[in-house]
Structure formats: C-alpha cells, structure tokens
Amino acid sequence: MKKWKYLMVTSMATSALLLGACGADQKASNSSSETSTSAQSEEQLQGKVAGDGSSTVSPIMEAIVEEYAATQPKVQVSVGVSGTGGGFEKFINGETDFSNASRPVKEEEAAKLKEKGIDYTEFEIAYDGISIVVNKDNNWIEDVTVKELEEIWVDNGKKKKWSDINKDWPDEEIKFYSPGTDSGTYDYFVNDVLEEQQLDKSATLSEDDNVLVTGVESDKNAIGYFGFAYYEANKDKLKVVKIDGVEPTHDTIQSGDYTPLSRPLFVYANNKALEEPAMYNFMEYALENAGAMAESVGYVKSPDNVYEEDKKKLEEFKK
C-alpha cells in the first residue's frame, strides 16, 4: 500500500517538476533576454521566425540559420522540410513567415494567397542544376537532346525500351526514378522538359532522393533525376548525362549554359512578417550570405546582381 503511494507521489512530483521546469525556463529566458537586450541594446533583437518548404533549399537554409543563430541568439528561427508544395500550403494558411521553393509559385497558389490577402515577395537565393543520371554500366548514353529526354520520360501508355528512343540503344526496358509529386524538382521537370505532359507512370517516385540514388545505382537500365547536390555527393556511384552536349557542373549551371535544367531557388517572404524587425533582420542576413552558404553545401550561387536586386526589394520594408 505504502509503496504504490510512494510511487504515485514520486511520479507526480517528477511530472510536476518537469512541467515546472518548462515554465521556469520560459520565465528565466524571458527575463534574461530582457536584461541582455538592455545591456547590449545594439542590434540584439528577439522574436520568432517560422519557415517551411523545399527539401532542395533546406541545406542552404540550415547553413544560414546555423550561422544566424550565432549572431542573433534571441531570434528563434525554425524551418520545416515539407517540400515546396507542402511549404506553400502552410504559407497560404498564414502559418509560416517564409517559404522555401525550388520552383516559382504556381498560379493556383498565387490565387489562393491573394484570396487570403497574403502579400509576398520573391527572393532568388541560389542556382541548382537538375542532373539526369544513369547507371555506371550504362555505356550507350552520353549526351541527349531535350527532345530525346522528353521522349524518354513522357508517358505513352506502354512500356518503353531504350531502343524505342534510339535504334543504337539496347532492346531493354527503361526503369524510371523520379522525385515525388510534392517536390518542386518534379514540378520543374514536368513543366520545363515535358511541358505538362504526364511523366511515365511506371516511374518510382520518392520524396527521399537517396532512394533514387540507390535505385539508379543498382539497375543498369535505370534513369533518374534530382538536384545537383545529390549528384555531387554521389559522383563516384552514378554517371551524369549531358544535355545538348553540356554537362552539369558548377560553371555551366552558373553561366546558364546548362539549359533548360538550371533553375533558380527561391524564398518567398510574407510582406507583413517582413515589417517585424526580427524577420527583416533574418532575411537581410540570409540574402547577404545565401551565395556563400549555397556554395558551401553543394549548390551554385546566383550572379551578384540577383542578390543586389533582392536586397533592393527587401529594403522597401525597412522601417
């Protein structure tokens, strides 16, 4: 009898302590932040900034947030990774202050934003080159034209063999690996290469790009595509395909020679949120460092004038 009472009391006390600790934490952090702001009033902001969106952009954002936390420890930036589409859904709902996107905002998304009365600003923060990859043992495909690429990937209602595209290629079935429909990479590919036609329905879709890497790596007849950073990290396991004679490299993506698969990466910011000092400060920091951070995580920085234009757009919200 006593034992269980003792147990109940301890468990209740523990949970009370735990809860209490949470509450105390809050008070403590609040008061300490007040003192620290008054002590070093210069530029020490506090506030909350929430973002979500593309998994392609998230490595760049993580680098920015990581560095930013060191300069403004009282500004709490949290970023989710729900994919470009999932991110916009939350952005439309007013749940986030900014949304990362690996494609421009879609018309229907823009319409919904307008309906909800959310004004936003588009910032371009880096470049990515969607890389087309095949298996290492694939010795017949070096270079494709955009037209061939479209023929390979478009759904024609039956199973496709390599020889259907080009007679010199083997008489074997093509296996497709593509990012999932929630990703901006998928949208961009379907939009710019397939011109809104249906992507081959037999394709394996995955939100996890490592699944695509493994898939292509283990099947001789496989073809896949994903962001440049994933190709860079798996260079020795995969073979990249040239598009109209251009291989995706840092330089060809930056110069725009690698077309049409070079694409800009965006951050969409809620205009109302930009009027908050913490959010403004964070975006300012983000745009200043986006180029360098993008390079450090395997992407390509945009030309300098892009960032200058971004900053001009941002400055309109300065108070």
Binding site: M8, E62, A69, V79, G80, D208, A229, A233
Partner: protein, 292 residues
C-alpha cells in the same frame, strides 16, 4: 499374452517424437530469426553510429557539418513533449478505464465504446497526425508547438493505455472488492484504496510502453509539420520545437554519406532512451506485481 504391443507403441512413439522435434525446431527458428533481425539492426547502427556519439553530440544543435551535428534540440524537444503526453494520457486513459470497468453498466452502448477503443488502437499513426493538424494546430491555433504535438501523441496512445489499464483493473480479484464493500466502504473508496493500488503495476507497465511509442513515432510529427532546422531550445509548452525522430528522418535524407552515420548515431540515442524507459516498465512490473 501381452496387454501392450511394444512394437506398435514403439512405432507410434517414434512418429510422435519426430513430430515433436520438427515443431520444436520450427519454433526455435522463428525465435532465432526475430533475434537475428534485431542483432543485425543493432550491429549496423552501432558500427555506423558509434563513432559519432559523444558528449558533444548530445550537446550540439544540428549542423550542416556532419561532425558538428548533434541532437540537443531534438532530445530536449522529445522529453518536453513527453512531459505533456505523460500526464494527459495517464489521467484520461486511467480515468476512462476506471469508468468502463467499475461504473459503466454492460449495455450495447458500452460494448460499442469498447469496440471502438480497440479499433482506435489499430488506426495508423498518420491519421492521428492529420487529426492533430486539423484540430490542435489549426482549429485551436496552437501552432506547431509542444502542446499540439503532445496532445496529438496523447490521443495516439490513449487507446493502448485504456486497454492496458482495463486489463489491470479487471485482474484485481473480486474478493478484494467484496471485502471492501463488506467493511462499509463506498464505491469511490474501494476504487481509490483497493482497486487502484492493486492495479497500479499493470497500469504503469502498459503506460510506459505506450509512452515509449509516443517518443519514437515520426509520422504524426511530419504531418503536423514540426520543423527540423531549429537552433534553440523550447521555452514553454507553446514554443516550437523539434523531436529526435524528425532529426533522424532529416539526416537520413541528406545527400552526404556522413549524415547517414549521424542518423545512425541519432537512432542510438533514441534507442538508449527507449531501452531506459522499457527497463523502468520491467522494473515496476517485477517489483510490484504478484502481491495477491
């Protein structure tokens, strides 16, 4: 004249013995296969992740550099979520179990409720995530907070706790209740002083196992949209946070191979936490059970 034909008996004995050995080996194989899977899993996690587990790993926030990445925000976030889940799910779960076992009359309605609770225990966790997103995050405006995630997880494990608590309460011998009534105790006195103390080991064992599930679940958190890139600790139940499984999920998706090892290290931390919680459950069961 022999009453027992030894030859026939011998033949049938051998047959039955062979059958016995065959089945014994089949079941041994089943056990070994399950064990083997566990050993392979543990081996892979430990060989991949052990190098990354260190004191710094527990103290650092996530990072773009695999060697600097850590689980601090996730660990604190998961524990904070547990601090919401534990009281909410225990109070509601044990309360519901007491009502269903002690007060409710056996009617069609209670059978219906009972059936639904059992069914709820089998609902995929992602469905609870959608429920949490609609009700807690959006309708009640809690945002992607510890409270919203904690309440969602509470709903997820509630059916399990109710069923476990019901089992425990049911296994309290009727003679104890009758003795209590015989002494003139009221129903509430009986429940509080006789039934609950006898049932508590079973209730707690079931609950702790359910809480371990809440710590390890990922799908509801993904649906709610719990952020991954978080460089701060939660400051209260309404603060945004990240959780251990979310960090592991994020690391496993990274392009750089080193992050696979960081993910493995994260899994090790999560597993140690789970083993710790489960051993508390085992401890409670061994210490307090079989007193009647």
């Amino acid at each position: 004249m022999a009453y027992i034909n030894h030859e026939v008996v011998e033949r049938q004995m051998t047959k039955r013995r062979v059958k016995n050995t065959v089945f014994k080996n089949i079941f041994l194989g089943a056990t070994l296969l399950a064990l083997l899977a566990l050993v392979i899993l543990l081996y892979r996690m430990i060989t991949q992740g052990a190098g990354y587990v260190s004191f710094d790993f527990l103290q650092n926030f996530s990072s773009r550099f695999p060697e600097k990445a850590g689980v601090f925000a996730g660990l604190v976030g998961s524990l904070a979520m547990l601090a919401v889940v534990a009281p909410v799910s225990l109070l509601l779960g044990v309360g519901a179990a007491i009502y269903l076992e002690e007060y409710a009359k056996k009617s069609k309605l209670t059978t219906f409720i009972q059936m639904n609770i059992s069914n709820l225990a089998g609902v995929p966790s992602i469905v609870f995530g959608l429920l949490g997103l609609t009700i807690f995050v959006r309708m009640l405006g809690m945002g992607k907070s510890i409270l919203a995630a904690g309440l969602t997880m509470s709903l997820l494990i509630l059916p399990v706790i109710i069923v476990a608590a019901q089992e425990a309460i049911r296994s309290v011998p009727g003679s104890l209740r009758e003795a209590s009534y015989g002494m003139g105790a009221t129903k509430w006195q009986t429940i509080r002083k006789v039934v609950l103390p006898a049932a508590i080991p079973g209730v707690l064992t079931g609950s702790i196992l359910a809480l371990s599930r809440a710590i390890g679940e990922t799908a509801p958190l993904v649906v709610i949209g719990i952020p991954v890139i978080v460089q701060f600790l939660p400051a209260g139940v309404l603060s945004e946070f990240t959780a251990l499984p979310m960090l592991i999920f994020d690391w496993a998706k990274r392009p750089q191979e080193e992050f696979q090892y960081v993910a493995a290290a994260g899994i090790l931390v999560l597993m140690v936490l789970l083993i710790f919680m489960n051993s508390i459950a085992v401890f409670i069961r061994n210490k307090f059970q079989n007193r009647y």
